[in-house]
């Protein structure tokens, strides 16, 4: 039995490799993680962007670089042209012995005041300030962008496994190989397990690999494993139920598009809504998965919490499975 299950898995990987599909799916999440990693380092250092022309001296540029990202231009026109482009960047030039700041007008509110403050301070550096400023921190190096981005990616990847199954099944249907399986000595359960295995292996490989790449430090990967398995379970069931009931790729793709709504909705809801609105998200397994993943990344997760959240996810999965099992069975025939 086991050998048959693995043969089905092997065949899926082989045919996927031939189509490059599996290759894309394996590599792409890591590219996403890499981009997130790049972003968290560069976004974190952004305060104000400023374009200066040749009237601004070397000293001033050096001073500005302590506070802002500076681009230099050799003429006023080029600098003004730069300011007028779509992104947020201010212009700075000397005029009549004073400074002139150019803005486009639609920049993020308040940023021009920051630049005004930085430039003004340059001229008033010698003034003795009547107060002392001390800055310290509580040694928390993880930015919210990386924290939430990591959880979001981990859950997305757990859902992806189910999608691979969906695509695989529709391919079987269009190529009429599903009917062939029905007359082969392979049992129904073996076929389902063989197909489903991919939906678990990929997410585990992805979420653990991605979290390692993002380097969250000493987090509990066994907890990640348990959470990933539980969310992959519901994705596999959704993938199966859509995959076997649709022999039309169009419907498959649009269903895939629809699944992103509850996934993204639950995660963004959990991040942005205040706690009193959270009960509205309790129905969503993706909400509970996010709660677990977030706690794991923050190193605040306890086994009790992980087991409870995973239990809720599996409970919801069970209800969904009960509702869909007939459909899946009928579709496989």
């Amino acid at each position: 039995m086991l050998s048959k299950i693995f043969r089905i898995l092997q065949r899926d990987i082989k045919s996927g490799m031939r189509d490059y599909m599996v290759l894309y799916i394996i590599i792409f999440p890591f590219i996403l993680a890499f981009i997130l990693k790049m972003m968290t380092t560069s976004v974190g250092s952004i305060t104000v962007n400023v374009a200066v022309d040749d009237s601004i001296g070397e000293d001033m540029i050096l001073y500005l670089e302590d506070y802002a990202k500076v681009e230099t231009f050799d003429s006023l026109d080029k600098m003004r042209e730069r300011v007028n482009r779509t992104d947020d960047i201010f212009g700075l030039t000397m005029k009549d012995g004073g400074y002139l700041v150019y803005q486009q007008g639609n920049e993020t509110q308040g940023t021009v005041d920051i630049l005004d403050l930085i430039v003004t301070s340059y001229d008033n550096q010698d003034l003795e300030v009547p107060i002392d400023v001390r800055i310290s921190d509580i040694d928390w190096k993880l930015s919210p962008l990386k924290q939430y981005g990591g959880s979001l990616l981990a859950i997305f990847m757990s859902v992806l496994g189910g999608m691979v199954i969906l695509i695989n099944l529709i391919e079987e249907k269009t190529e009429k190989t599903l009917t062939a399986i029905n007359v082969s000595p392979t049992k129904r359960s073996e076929f389902v397990l063989g197909k489903g295995l991919m939906g678990f292996i990929l997410p585990i490989f992805h979420s653990i690999g991605m979290l390692l790449l993002l380097n969250f430090g000493n987090i509990d990967y066994l907890m990640v494993f348990v959470t990933t398995i539980s969310i992959a379970l519901i994705s596999v069931i959704i993938g199966f139920s859509i995959g076997v009931t649709n022999d039309n790729i169009l419907a498959g793709i649009s269903s895939l598009k629809m699944i992103f709504i509850p996934v993204l909705g639950s995660i963004f809801g959990a991040i942005f809504l205040s706690a009193k609105w959270h009960p509205f998200l309790y129905w969503s397994p993706f909400y509970w998965a996010f709660k677990s993943m977030d706690a794991i990344i923050l190193k605040e997760a306890t086994w009790g919490m992980i087991i409870m959240n995973s239990g809720i996810i599996i409970g919801i999965t069970f209800i969904v499975f009960m509702g869909l099992s007939k459909r899946i069975n009928r579709g496989l025939n």
């Binding site: 189509d19 560069s42 212009g91 930085i118 301070s121 107060i131 001390r134 509580i138």
Partner: protein
């Protein structure tokens, strides 16, 4: 004539499949989310937990702080509570305003992930009010606005371009390949090969279906969320150009593959890559070159313009024209390739 017949037939068929209805339902869900879940304006400013030295309560600053009604400023009675409160909200900052040896001290506590530049700016910002009151202080900075309009959209309307680009303009990227390979699998293309119609007519008719669906969902979202505050003529023209562009790119990519499963990997990567422009749309200070060269980047800003009271029509139509030209180029290239492979 062939084109029209073929288009009308395709349109009739597509209304019979439930795909088009899924797109409409999806657009309605987006509308519901925008209207009922997303507040019209949401501030994302960070909370500050402030402790004030009792000796400073009677000062102007003390009175200002104790009478503040801002949600962002939370006064705490105990300086020691600040780190604990900050741990609960990782977006927050903390600060204590103290009096030491007759001199005022701002003791600011940050989380730790903030950059050096951010720290420098904060340090300057804290002292600026004091410096301004010094007799020798002078400011030689003046500000000039270059743009004609400094109008800003509400946060809710500002989200519309994202949905319009991903859901309506790039609809073809998602789906046009599926339409074509489905016909291929079902043998419709073989039947088509023996008719006098040409491949480009067949492809154009598919493009037409996506355009109708894209316009329907795009306008539905715009009408229900923004009502009359849209320049509909410009919006429709821009939607047409961007939707046709999306479909032509979709066709071109699909022409390299002989079934949908193979094509989908490449198409999905294209969509997700294009979607990265959204990051810079929301964070205009973060615009690396890799994002600026994506077609979705100017597309997002062009869509934003049509919701402004005084849109920059030069910008909108420069890119509309560019998308049209690119659409034609990609369509011709896709047609050349499909001519060889589609009916083979």
């Amino acid at each position: 004539m062939h084109l029209l017949t073929s288009f009308l037939k395709d349109l009739k068929v597509s209304f019979k499949t439930f795909y088009i209805y899924i797109e409409i339902i999806m657009a309605l869900i987006i509308v519901l989310v925008l209207l009922f879940v997303i507040p019209e304006n949401f501030t994302s400013s960070a909370k500050a937990f402030i402790y004030l030295d009792p000796a400073l309560l009677e000062t102007e600053l003390g009175e200002e702080l104790t009478s503040n009604t801002l949600d962002e400023i939370v006064l705490v009675d105990n300086k020691e509570d600040i780190p604990r409160l900050m741990e609960e909200d990782r977006n927050s900052v903390g600060g204590a305003i103290l009096l030491e040896n007759g001199k005022m001290v701002y003791d600011l506590t940050l989380q730790g992930y903030e950059s050096e530049r951010f720290r420098n700016v904060i340090e300057k910002a804290l002292t600026v009010d004091m410096v301004r009151q010094l007799p020798d202080y002078e400011s030689k900075v003046s500000i000039e606005t270059l743009g004609e309009s400094s109008e800003r959209l509400s946060d809710r309307i500002n989200m519309l371009p994202v949905f319009l680009v991903i859901n309506s303009a790039f609809m073809g990227l998602f789906i046009i390949a599926a339409y074509i390979f489905m016909d291929k699998d079902e043998g419709t293309i073989k039947a088509f090969a023996v008719t006098p119609s040409r491949v480009w007519e067949y492809l154009l008719s598919k493009l037409g279906i996506i355009l109708v669906t894209g316009l329907m969902t795009g306008l539905l979202t715009a009408v229900l969320v923004a009502g009359f505050n849209v320049h509909y003529v410009h919006l429709i023209i821009l939607l047409i150009a961007s939707n046709v562009f999306g479909s032509a790119v979709g066709l071109f990519i699909a022409s390299f593959y002989d079934n949908i499963i193979k094509a989908m990997g490449a198409l999905y990567i294209t969509i997700i890559t294009f979607a990265f422009a959204t990051i810079s749309y929301y964070m205009p200070s973060f615009t690396p070159l890799v994002i600026r060269i994506l077609p979705s980047y100017p597309m997002l800003f062009a869509f934003r313009e049509v919701f402004l009271e005084k849109p920059d029509l030069g910008y909108v139509y420069t890119y509309t024209a560019l998308f049209f030209i690119l659409a034609v180029v990609f369509f011709i290239l896709a047609n050349e390739r499909f001519k060889k492979t589609l009916t083979a």
